[in-house]
């Protein structure tokens, strides 16, 4: 009898132990912090996704094309032991931010990091692009970033300390005439990040802004940079993975303005120091050089 009772107690305790352990075991995956990368299927966004995956974050990737998203998911899940969710949508649409926030809250996702990477740019943008593309640029580069930050704010607040990483560009520091729209929108993103950092300080949400120089995400950009900025541009340029790694590292260190690369850092301080008028003329003549050549 005594033996039986002991066994019963033992049994109970093991069951108890199991029930305690089991949910933990099951939830280990979902208890991992999540990071949302808007525009995370290619380029800098993918670089950031890799850096986050390395640090054990589950990922939500959002981009327009389903197939690139699927490849990104497969690559990341194969290489790192994380879970990747993918959402295919066009972030320039008005309804998008609300839909994403709904998706995340419904699943009660432990969102720790929001990366607004989605952006569009190109050379000779203002007068040669159709008006609709200009609007698209404003909506993707600025509006989507502000909208996502706003709609996901409650979730980030709940999981504080959390992080927001906005991707601007060195073009945001000073206007580049041939990339008129691009630098105007990126300048707004830089300003937004500065202000947001102070607004969210008390809520323990750290805001960072990545302002890279040229990043070789596409073969056209390699060509363009080499033609316009020559040797210096080539030296300054980085590959997206390095940029992503630096960006994530510094975001987690709560740095505000992140400029990866020594040369880019030096030129960015020069750009910010010089009167804007000089910089515009300098950029403008560099842009014209390419046209003639």
């Amino acid at each position: 009898m005594k033996y039986l009772i002991i066994q019963l107690v033992l049994c109970c305790s093991t069951i108890c132990a199991f029930t305690e352990v089991l949910p933990k075991f099951n939830n280990e995956d979902s208890l991992r912090p999540y990071a949302l990368v808007a525009g995370g299927s290619k380029g800098i966004g993918y670089g950031i996704a890799i850096a986050l995956a390395k640090r054990g974050y589950n990922l939500i990737l959002i981009a327009r094309h389903w197939d690139t998203l699927q490849t990104a998911k497969n690559n990341l899940e194969a290489k790192y032991h994380i879970h990747v969710d993918i959402l295919s949508m066009d972030l320039s649409f008005d309804s998008c931010a609300t839909a994403i926030a709904k998706w995340c809250t419904e699943r009660n996702i432990r969102l720790k990091i929001l990366c607004n990477v989605a952006g569009l740019g190109g050379a000779n943008d203002y007068l040669s692009f159709p008006l609709d593309s200009l609007r698209y640029m404003v909506r993707l580069n600025i509006e989507s970033c502000m909208a996502l930050s706003l709609t996901l704010l409650p979730l980030l607040e709940k999981n504080a300390p959390s992080y927001i990483l906005n991707v601007a560009s060195m073009a945001g520091f000073a206007p580049i005439p041939i990339k008129n729209m691009y630098s105007a929108t990126k300048s707004a993103v830089v300003f937004f990040s500065y202000s947001l950092r102070y607004q969210l300080k008390d809520k323990h949400i750290s805001v960072s802004c990545l302002c890279p120089g040229p990043v070789y995400t596409k073969p056209e950009i390699v060509q363009d940079t080499k033609a316009k900025l020559g040797w210096f541009g080539n030296k300054m340029a980085l590959d997206p993975e390095t940029v992503g790694e630096v960006a994530v590292k510094k975001t987690l260190n709560k740095k505000l303005i992140i400029v990866p690369g020594t040369l880019a850092k030096i030129s960015s301080s020069l750009i910010r120091f010089f009167p804007r008028r000089w910089v515009v003329n300098l950029y403008g003549s560099a842009g014209n050089k390419k046209k003639k050549g």
Binding site: S149, A184, S195
Partner: protein, 259 residues
């Protein structure tokens, strides 16, 4: 006689600009949302100056309005010489307390409408050179103001846009200017807010909308790029540009918190 378009010209700084243009005998087309305000402005300007005033009622934050405005002009074959983008939205309530829809409206009105109007009217402006574009930004566009987050962001985008545009249109003989005023007492609410937040300096810096308009138009016709009316504002704008933006944001955040 040449025409000037003043987007957002029924009230505030826009009205000041419209009056200064009327004084220089430009015919004026005023674009605004409120039909009543528009009619009021029309009668006021036509009574005071010997010019023709037309009004166009439309919301510039809507995507189709700029194209409708262009159509209005092309059907009447009027020569456009001046384009003023003065339509803008701001306020003491900003991100993150503003609903998403309002934030979108702000971006679309402050930044997108200026971009779209300039884009559509450049071909017309090229026919009447030397011609002028005047974008109305703000001192807030020089440095981030945490309390006016989205407002400052859109205005900084507008300054950046204007600078690039000036360079792009140099050879076309279209001059681009950007007006960056400090506090302008356009509404009683702004007056009260300025007094409270910025105290004595704010009061010294502030000017009336008609003065702002007058100085803006004068400087625009002289092809000045950045126009900061008022001595105090000018000094302040220099400071904002010299001091690193992180410090400025921090200081302005503290100022805003005082409220």
């Amino acid at each position: 006689m040449n025409w000037a378009i003043v987007a957002g010209g029924s009230k505030g700084i826009g009205l000041g600009i419209a009056e200064a243009l009327a004084k220089r005998s430009f015919n004026v087309l005023i674009v605004a949302r409120n039909a009543e305000d528009l009619q009021h402005t029309k009668t006021f300007l036509e009574k005071k100056y010997l010019i023709q005033v037309e009004v166009f009622c439309g919301d510039l934050s809507h995507t189709e309005t700029p194209a409708q405005l262009l159509e209005w002009f092309t059907t009447r074959h009027l020569p456009v010489n001046v384009l003023c983008n003065a339509a803008g939205l701001g306020g003491s309530i900003d991100f993150p307390n503003l609903p998403l829809e309002k934030i979108r409206t702000m971006i679309r009105l402050n930044l997108e409408s200026a971009i779209a109007l300039s884009y559509l009217f450049i071909p017309l402006l090229q026919q009447t050179t030397p011609s002028y574009i005047l974008n109305v930004s703000s001192l807030a566009g020089f440095a981030p103001i945490p309390m006016k987050n989205v407002y400052a962001a859109t205005k900084s985008g507008l300054i950046s846009f204007s600078r690039s545009l000036k360079y792009l249109l140099k050879k076309d003989r279209i001059s681009v200017s950007c007006l960056c005023p400090g506090p302008v007492f356009t509404k009683p609410a702004i007056e009260a807010e300025t007094r409270k937040q910025m105290g004595w300096i704010g009061k010294q810096m502030a000017i009336r909308p008609d003065q702002v308009g007058e100085r803006a138009v004068r400087a625009m016709l002289k092809r000045k790029m950045i126009i900061v009316p008022g001595r105090w504002s000018k000094l302040f704008s220099c400071l904002l540009r010299i001091v690193p933006q992180d410090y400025v944001a921090r200081i302005l955040y503290r100022f805003g918190k005082k409220k």
